[in-house]
């Protein structure tokens, strides 16, 4: 793969654009040209079209996929929700010929064509399968030896496996992100709530306090079982929750620690030597200290 469409979604470009910038830095540096999906819209998020009308869900998702298809590329996304919504929609469209015909007919009215050639990937899949651990290892300027990472792959990249192009060997005990972190030299041990929901998304918007129960459970499991230097995720929703809710829990005194949170491409970009001001500068839990440690002279290769 030489080129890939980057499907940004909503959270990454509008809430955490430093994550977007980190992707725009690392992928070309690792040999994959990013193709912008001009005119894309929200995937559509679970709480929008999927909650109202299946066909509208499929058409809007189909339009986003069609933008990539018309540019002749597969697409990757860094938001687990977008990945879930688009994968599920593509699966439904391809499984049901009548749905495919419906999507094609509606898209034709806005001069879009959908054939189903474009595959939907998560950026973690591209990093793991297309680029590979070896290339990542070789690209590094700063190695993470001695760091301990709590990984958070997030739900939608794990289940349901039947709608995905790439799956974990065992989706209940995922290892792709673990291996990606280990490739940077860090340690990424298992903790018991690794696959546990962080509480973001619909739960957070419907009942914030309930959503905090889950993220607190997860943070405590990380802290008590492995005491990590940082949390690394490949889901932008998990990122916002682990970073934002953690700060609130700390302020309320519900937890007595903080753990900095990084999106994987942010960490990778830092390891590759990119400027933290561009690739990792927006967060609730301060990251200056950990970034300084990562990009320190003694770690330089």
């Amino acid at each position: 793969m030489e080129r890939c469409g980057l499907y940004l979604g909503c959270n990454i470009p509008l809430k955490a654009p430093d994550i977007e910038q980190s992707m725009r830095k690392v992928f070309p540096a690792l040999g994959i040209e990013i193709v912008d999906l001009d005119g894309f819209s929200c995937c559509p998020a679970w709480g929008t079209a999927p909650s109202f009308d299946i066909d509208t869900w499929l058409v809007v998702a189909g339009r986003n996929i069609a933008i990539a298809e018309m540019k002749g590329v597969d697409l990757m996304t860094g938001c687990n929700s977008c990945f879930g919504v688009l994968s599920e929609a593509k699966h439904m469209i391809e499984e049901h010929p009548e749905k495919k015909a419906m999507v094609q007919e509606k898209l034709a009215k806005i001069n879009k064509t959908y054939e189903g050639k474009t595959k939907v990937y998560h950026i973690a899949h591209i990093l793991y399968k297309e680029i590979g651990l070896e290339k990542i290892r070789k690209s590094m300027k700063y190695k993470l030896d001695g760091f301990k990472i709590a990984i958070q792959p997030g739900c939608h990249i794990l289940w349901p496996t039947k709608v995905m192009e790439v799956t974990e060997k065992n989706p209940f005990y995922p290892t792709m992100l673990k291996e990606l972190c280990e490739a940077l030299g860090a340690e990424a041990p298992y903790y018991s709530r690794l696959e546990y929901c962080c509480g973001m998304g619909a739960l957070r918007s419907t009942d914030q306090e309930k959503s905090f129960l889950l993220v607190k459970e997860k943070l405590l499991s990380m802290k008590e079982e492995i005491d990590p230097d940082m949390i690394v995720t490949t889901c932008s929703s998990c990122y916002l929750q682990l970073d934002g809710a953690q700060k609130i829990l700390k302020e309320r005194g519900e937890i007595d620690f903080t753990i900095p949170v990084l999106y994987y491409t942010q960490l990778l970009a830092l390891c590759m030597g990119f400027d933290a001001k561009e690739v990792a500068s927006i967060s609730e839990i301060p990251r200056e200290e950990i970034i300084e440690k990562i990009q320190s002279e003694e770690r330089a290769q």
């Binding site: 940004l8 909503c10 470009p13 509008l14 809430k15 654009p17 430093d18 977007e20 910038q21 999906l37 001009d38 005119g39 894309f40 819209s41 929200c42 559509p44 998020a45 679970w46 709480g47 929008t48 079209a49 999927p50 909650s51 109202f52 009308d53 299946i54 066909d55 509208t56 058409v59 809007v60 339009r63 879930g84 509606k106 009215k109 806005i110 739900c155 939608h156 794990l158 289940w159 349901p160 496996t161 039947k162 929901c197 509480g199 973001m200 998304g201 619909a202 739960l203 918007s205 419907t206 009942d207 309930k210 959503s211 129960l213 889950l214 001001k277 561009e278 690739v279 500068s281 927006i282």
Partner: protein
């Protein structure tokens, strides 16, 4: 005062099932109430009342009006862990969402959902906020290459939404 016994024979199970099938939740009948989905469901774990398994039992026994205003279904994060482990192939996520669609039809929608729907229609992004300053700070174009940058693309999306049954709800 009235006893709380549910008189099952007075419930119109067929009518409820018909609505569920129409909204994509026909697998409701496959559920044998084993509880596997609920054991790992974020909605159930956090103590919201109408999580997957319990919701399905209400629907299977013909309850609909009684549960129409409950917001639990809107807390489903669509994690699909239930789908992966369900021993009966129910795809619980799809059944929960089918119920949501019935609720939506009756405008039993939480405020957060109407806000994001409005954002979705007017900007193309369900999660929206002016990010131009943040984006420039990290060295990006102030506007992402989405419907925000291309008005004709937003028009395309709005055309699709205007022609969908969702438009009838008058939420955008």
């Amino acid at each position: 005062m009235q006893v709380e016994t549910v008189n099952l024979t007075q419930k119109d199970r067929k009518a409820v099932l018909a609505q569920m099938i129409e909204k994509g939740g026909g697998n409701l009948t496959k559920c044998i109430q084993c509880g596997a989905c609920a054991s790992v469901c974020p909605v159930a774990i956090t103590g919201l009342p109408l999580y997957c398994k319990r919701l399905f039992r209400f629907l299977q026994t013909g309850h609909l009006e009684e549960i129409l205003d409950d917001a639990s279904s809107w807390a489903c994060v669509a994690c699909n862990r239930c789908t992966e482990i369900c021993p009966r192939g129910v795809d619980p996520f799809h059944v929960v969402f089918a119920f949501r669609r019935i609720q939506a039809q009756e405008l039993a929608i939480p405020a957060s959902a109407t806000t994001s729907l409005m954002n979705f229609y007017t900007t193309g992004h369900a999660v929206y906020g002016d990010a131009s300053e943040l984006r420039q700070k990290v060295g990006l174009d102030p506007v992402p290459p989405s419907t925000l940058k291309y008005p004709e693309a937003l028009k395309e999306l709005q055309t699709l939404l205007d022609e969908s049954p969702m438009a009838e709800l008058g939420l955008f």
